[in-house]
């Protein structure tokens, strides 16, 4: 009897001790908030600081009192203190380069604010909407189903029925619905194949939490809510979580290697986009950033990276560009109009090269060249319902001095195909052209600067409003000389010969 009583007493003691530890000092929280946080979240916490209108997604409005990434269940609006603490501290998504909340400007504060300061902020932020302690405990992971082939397959079936409307057939967020959050801001369903862009991460437990709790304030519902038409059993939710974790496509995640290696082929280059030969090319991915350098600056991108593959033979070079874009923007298309922000403009992609490949460091300015050093820009556009896709060739000495040239005359060709949230465009050009002083002349083994840009026509992107990269490198990879393989064999033989001599000498 005594023993039975003891356990709850001890437990409640532990819990209240934790509560005291977590209890922050909101006065100190306010002091920190007024120095560090208000710039985005606003003086009164309404998400309306000076930076707010340049951010997408917008900074959280603390006066509203709802939080997207919480562990308390769907029918408990109040997040756990730990949830807010975790959002402030950062590091939720360990795969992301960004240590704060990925896809947002919220940084990790654990490097400049002490732990107690962060708890104090939690207390202050909660006071802005009068949040108390949650009545319900965080959801439990005790029923977790370990990922397996069967579970993933079951999850895929459920996903196909329940999730594709918003997340798209292949989970790239290319659904058929235009979504807005409760405050009227446009929201985009997560591209589930890019877990490094997740706000939290793609541990099945985290995905399970989002599926079960929904994302409050957005159109991501709770699939645990029994009153919803979309209820899934606990088991089903784990299957979906395992499936979603399985569709990550790490090829699309930019790595440290920034050299696009162009692989040599004997014979013809693939001219079709779905040619299986492309699988032999070496993919390299690059981060897109919005054009925030020259007028008109652009702050609300929808596309975050591009993956390139390339081949060459003795005549031509072919580059396959592949980037996720949630919307296929064809002006005149009714379906595109439903999803677009404003008018539907053409989707587009461009690559940029210096006209003269620099022998030393000095390159043209990465933003469309400069007066002394021109660049070639190859720009493909998706076309409209009444006009076909186009390929343009431009020479630019800065964005104010652009010369339109004849792409066909330079032998420049392109085709593009959109499928399930991804554009694939193949660009082709002869290695050498007639106008040697106007076109980049590709040569084996030469490091050639390359930059990329893309426009999402359903996101109001045209002209200077687009996403882009800085200069990276393209290299026509030479065949490895035979000596690379022969010399090591000779070395091995010499060493072995030396060994034999040693043995013979010792036997004398």
């Amino acid at each position: 009897m005594k023993k039975k009583l003891l356990l709850p007493v001890v437990l409640s003691l532990i819990i209240s001790a934790q509560a005291i530890a977590a209890q922050g000092n909101k006065e100190n929280g306010k002091i920190i908030y007024d120095k560090k946080c208000w710039w985005c979240h606003g003086e009164k916490g309404a998400g309306d600081g000076p930076a707010a209108k340049f951010l997408n997604p917008p900074p959280r409005d603390f006066t509203a009192g709802w939080y997207k990434f919480k562990t308390t269940p769907f029918d408990e609006i109040t997040p756990a203190d730990e949830d807010i603490f975790r959002m402030i501290s950062g590091g939720m998504n360990h795969i992301s380069l960004w240590k704060g909340m990925s896809g947002t400007s919220m940084p990790n504060w654990d490097d400049v604010l002490k732990e107690q300061d962060r708890w104090d902020l939690v207390a202050y932020i909660k006071s802005l909407s009068g949040l108390e302690q949650p009545q319900k405990p965080p959801i439990s992971y005790s029923g977790q189903i370990k990922s397996s082939k069967e579970s993933i397959e079951k999850g895929r079936e459920i996903f196909k029925k329940m999730c594709v409307e918003c997340h798209g057939e292949e989970g790239k967020g290319d659904g058929t619905k235009k979504l807005k959050d409760d405050l009227g801001f446009r929201t985009w369903p997560r591209n589930l194949t890019k877990p490094w862009t997740f706000k939290v991460n793609n541990d099945p437990k985290e995905i399970y939490t989002r599926i079960s709790n929904g994302i409050p304030g957005t159109q991501m519902p709770s699939f645990a809510d029994p009153s919803s038409k979309k209820t899934l059993s606990e088991e089903e939710r784990w299957h979906v979580a395992n499936y979603v974790a399985s569709i990550a496509d790490d090829i699309k995640r930019p790595k440290d290697d920034t050299v696009l290696k162009v692989i040599r082929l004997e014979g013809d280059l693939p001219s079709k986009i779905d040619d299986p030969k492309w699988a032999e090319a070496q993919p390299t991915s690059f981060y897109f950033i919005p054009q925030i350098i020259a007028k008109e600056r652009f702050f609300t991108p929808t596309m975050d990276s591009i993956t390139a593959r390339a081949f060459y033979n003795d005549k031509e070079i072919a580059i396959l560009l592949e980037w996720d874009d949630r919307t296929k923007s064809i002006p005149g298309d009714e379906k595109a109009k439903e999803l677009a922000e404003g008018d539907v403009l053409e989707d587009s992609v461009a690559v940029q090269f210096p006209v003269i490949i620099p022998e030393e460091m000095e390159k043209p300015y990465f933003g469309m060249g400069d007066s002394a050093k021109p660049v070639n820009i190859w720009q493909w556009k998706s076309g409209t319902t009444s006009a076909p896709e186009t390929m343009k060739l431009m020479n630019a000495n800065g964005f104010q001095k652009i010369e339109q040239r004849d792409a066909a005359k330079a032998g420049l060709k392109a085709i593009g195909v959109y499928n399930n949230g991804t554009w694939r465009v193949v660009m082709k050009r002869p290695l050498a052209t007639e106008e040697k002083d106007k076109d980049v002349q590709f040569a084996e083994g030469k490091y050639t600067p390359i930059a990329f840009a893309a426009w999402d026509g359903s996101n109001g992107e045209s002209g200077s409003k687009h996403v882009m990269t800085t200069w990276y490198w393209l290299l026509l990879k030479p065949a490895t000389p035979k000596s690379t393989y022969i010399i090591p064999i000779i070395v091995a033989l010499l060493v072995f010969g030396g060994e034999l001599l040693l043995v013979r000498k010792s036997k004398k």
Binding site: F54, L97, G100, S105, I292, W471, L475, T484, V495
Partner: protein, 253 residues
Amino acid sequence: MKIPRLLLFVILVALSYFIFKAPGIFLKQPIPSSLIVMYMFFAVVTILLWMTSTEEGMQGLIGPIKRMIEDPGKKTLRNIIFVIVPIVAAGITYMQLRPTYEAPVELRSIHPAPPSTIKVFGKTFNLMTLENPYRKLEKEDPQKFAQLVKEGGEVYFKNCFYCHGDKLDGRGHYAHGFNPLPANFTDIGTIAQLQESFLFWRISTGGPGLPKEGAPWISAMPVWENFITEDEVWKVILFLYNYTGYVPRSWAK
């Protein structure tokens, strides 16, 4: 316990290799591999010289090798080693010969020497004598100064923080897309080393205003003269120093 000389030799060589590799592993500032090869050559020669300086040391080093070759009981061991050694030698040779295709290293001067005068905002400024017109208010009118710092902060959070970061640490949410990375103002090596007139120059003329040694072709710093006023430039400079707690350098008086 006495460590066998041959084992000691192996340990010392491995230790030197580790020391040369350590900056790359722990600080992400690797020593170029060609330099490591050279360092290792000298390390091995030094260790050999030291270990073979006495007859006893020489014997300690060569003895085990000699015994392994001569002792018929160790024939299997000898055969194994005699196969492994040529393979390792071939492997090392291949790694040295194998072509690698890493991005060329681009060196640039982070704080290039400023010109003596610049023309921005329709005026000519002499950078040798230029001072922040608001700096004196720090002592004369602290309240007004605090207001100017706050206004500078607003300029920063409307224009700069995407790259230079919420925490002024050069790690804004778009910083990952740039090379060179945006300047980290909290680092002791940036604004703490500079005069306000230098910042005025860097901000108002941006990347394209850099001299050649600063690699203007890759700097993503906008030409702020086109976006904000002269007044705002001075205010944002006040904010940068105030937030980081650094004091601008000044001409020695």
